[in-house]
Symmetry: C2
Subunit: 410 residues, 2 copies
């Protein structure tokens, strides 16, 4: 039986060794809530022990954040501090690694005027566009992990007594990131290989289109000619491996921006900007979102789609079998890092440059010419279920099963 402290220590080790794979003399930037001080201290220690030059921690506080949304003047939300932009850009240029720890309550901003949220999301998107280009073209090593927190745990385990919720969410996180197995680092290597097998298969197939069918869903997604599937570990511009998400169970590529037609329905709630969007349906014509409706959070969803021109299009198509470990837990995390790894998903917004051949070193213009979407935003949403079939359609119109009833069919 491994103690909590030991698990937390292993988790920190995974983030540093597998997540961003810190190199001697590298800078590390950690963005986190104040709730996660203990974990951040462990990560910092491991990073310095691995030779990090300096660890910069950007602490935010969820309650202070909410106070701002509640009380600050209405016209103050389009401001993003230029020194924070400079911090990320400068560190990215120096080849720093970036760890984000997510722990926010899915309902943190419930009841806040959505125009305030969207104004700040937009300002953030603009301010961090250069940083996002770095991340989306593998120029830097980056990693997203999660930490249990009181309010988030209460949302995931509403039926449990309050004093057990945080611990239960930690257990679920530790399980999802394979901290509780005998050799976590080896477990990640095994996972990485199995995802790379799927990637190799799909990259050999070079499907022209994917066709999704499920209750509420009939969607065709064209893929760029030179698309690449990815999954598991990535390799940065300096040839160093890193793992962008922990957990990760997906393989994914970029859609052809104007080649998406039909409609798709969500199968899990989406927590976006501290609000929940649930039971929603999106209709596409030639790639563009022409209609959205939601039983919950429709206004927030509409504001998301209205962020910019690119937020009317998709930027990612990802495959996760319904029998993946996180899906099998039966838990709804109300957190994309977990829920997207329990379900097929798509992303509204910008595509990853590395999802086309040569994309990592292409100009923005060339990336767009290859049919990849660009946007200030990138928001995944879940569409998978055990009722979903997906076909791959080849260049010469052969139809081949990829998913049947939510699971791999090859």
């Amino acid at each position: 039986m491994i103690s909590f402290n030991e698990k937390l220590d292993r988790y920190a080790e995974l983030a540093v060794k597998i997540g961003v794979n810190i190199q001697p003399n590298q800078f590390l930037y950690i963005s986190t809530s104040t709730d996660n001080v203990e974990l951040v201290r462990l990560i910092t220690k491991k990073a310095y022990e691995a030779g990090a030059k300096q660890v910069f921690v950007d602490f935010a506080d969820d309650q202070i954040n909410r106070l701002r949304y509640e009380l600050a003047p209405a016209d103050s939300f389009d401001f993003y501090p230029h020194w924070k932009t400079e911090e990320r850009n400068w560190l990215a240029e120096q080849g720093a690694a970036f760890i984000s720890i997510v722990s926010q309550s899915p309902d943190l901003l419930a009841g806040i005027e959505s125009s305030r949220i969207s104004a700040f999301q937009k300002a953030t998107g603009k301010a961090l566009s250069k940083y996002r280009e770095y991340a989306q073209s593998d120029k830097i090593s980056w990693n997203v992990i999660a930490a249990s927190s009181k309010d988030w745990a209460a949302k995931v385990f509403p039926e449990l007594p309050q004093d057990q919720q945080v611990e239960q969410l930690w257990n679920a996180i530790f399980k999802a990131v394979r901290v509780d197995v005998a050799d976590p680092i080896q477990a990640w290597k095994t996972l990485d290989e199995s995802l790379h097998d799927k990637v190799s298969y799909l990259n050999e197939k070079k499907y022209h289109k994917l066709h999704y069918r499920a209750p509420g869903t009939d969607l065709t997604i064209e893929l760029p000619k030179n698309h690449l599937w990815c999954g598991g570990g990535s390799v940065n511009v300096n040839g160093k491996e890193f793992m962008a998400n922990m957990p990760t169970e997906e393989v994914f590529t970029a859609p052809f921006k104007t080649g998406v037609n039909g409609f798709v329905s969500s199968t899990k709630p989406l927590s976006y900007g501290g609000n929940i969007i649930d039971q929603f349906k999106i209709t596409f014509e030639n790639g563009r979102i022409v209609d959205v409706s939601a039983e919950q959070g429709e206004e927030v969803l509409k504001q998301l789609v209205a962020t910019d021109e690119g937020s009317h299009y998709l930027g990612e198509v990802a495959l996760v079998p319904h029998n993946s470990p996180i899906s099998q837990s039966g838990l709804l995390f109300y957190n994309t890092l977990f829920d997207e790894n329990a379900s097929n998903h798509l992303a509204i917004g910008s595509a990853y440059a590395f999802n086309i051949e040569g994309g990592k070193t292409m100009s923005r213009e060339d990336i767009a010419e290859n049919g990849l979407n660009q946007s200030l935003t990138h928001v995944d949403f879940m569409i998978g279920s055990d009722k979903m079939d997906i076909d791959g359609i080849t260049e010469d119109n052969n139809v081949e099963p990829i998913f049947r009833q939510g699971s791999w069919a090859f």
Copy 2:
């Protein structure tokens, strides 16, 4: 009986209303340790309620800070992030208010190589020189308050059981900042008036020199011709009152840089850069420090004096009677914010421009020509006791008592 939460709430109110006196549409910047999240949330709320435009919180973590000093490469300590400099400078230019919350353990950096500490202190001093000019010439409203923390409280109350230390230090802080009286805001106004009375008396006297006598001390300090005594509330460039320190019991002015002669002995330990310097003696010739010795922390003291040319001279001379409330508590806080307000003190390093007539709007060059010291650093140290006599020497060599046996003599 007022509850702890109520006292903390009043304290936050004092910091916002009396400390920086937040105005509508003003920015507020708070620097704090992660230990003080609750207090920061309260201050943030009060600031927004008073009309603040945005509250920026710069959280640091003491343990993470120490990890860096222990584990980072030796050549990495002369780096201060330029984006942090830009943050302060930009906000200062926008007329932001600045609150610092101190809670650090006096021993935080005990055992760390002093060259690492002095390298970073020097880098910080350089990086924040423009900000310091803003603060030292009353161009901005700024305020320093304290918060109890585990390690600091253990140092102040080593004889108490561990579970009572933090609470006892809070009680001492609340008492020192007059949170536990019926009307704290009125109490601060009364204090302010009594300090201003002393200030008026001394400013009318226009003493040419001060002469300090006590065991281990025989020191003469010349004052600039146009020196001004200050104490209690300040007024910023926009005519708004603020209180730079809470607590504050001192009246102070600037010495004439090259007019300090003799020797002075410390009467309380000084916590500087996470290390304690104790039982030290400093000798001056024509203003310059020509000899230092200390029973504890001598190396750290020498590094402090060696920071730059200006750190070889004094920048502040402050009077606090030995019967001041904080002194009467009999506590040794190992924290300058408190200990300096229990004792006469001096400061090594830069002088406040507002301590000479017209100084707030003078150029750096004019300030220096008027005999005020300039430096990257400003560190107060305590010299007062119930055995200290101070005379004021007028321009025509009359000798008048200012302090006798540690108390006001007029």
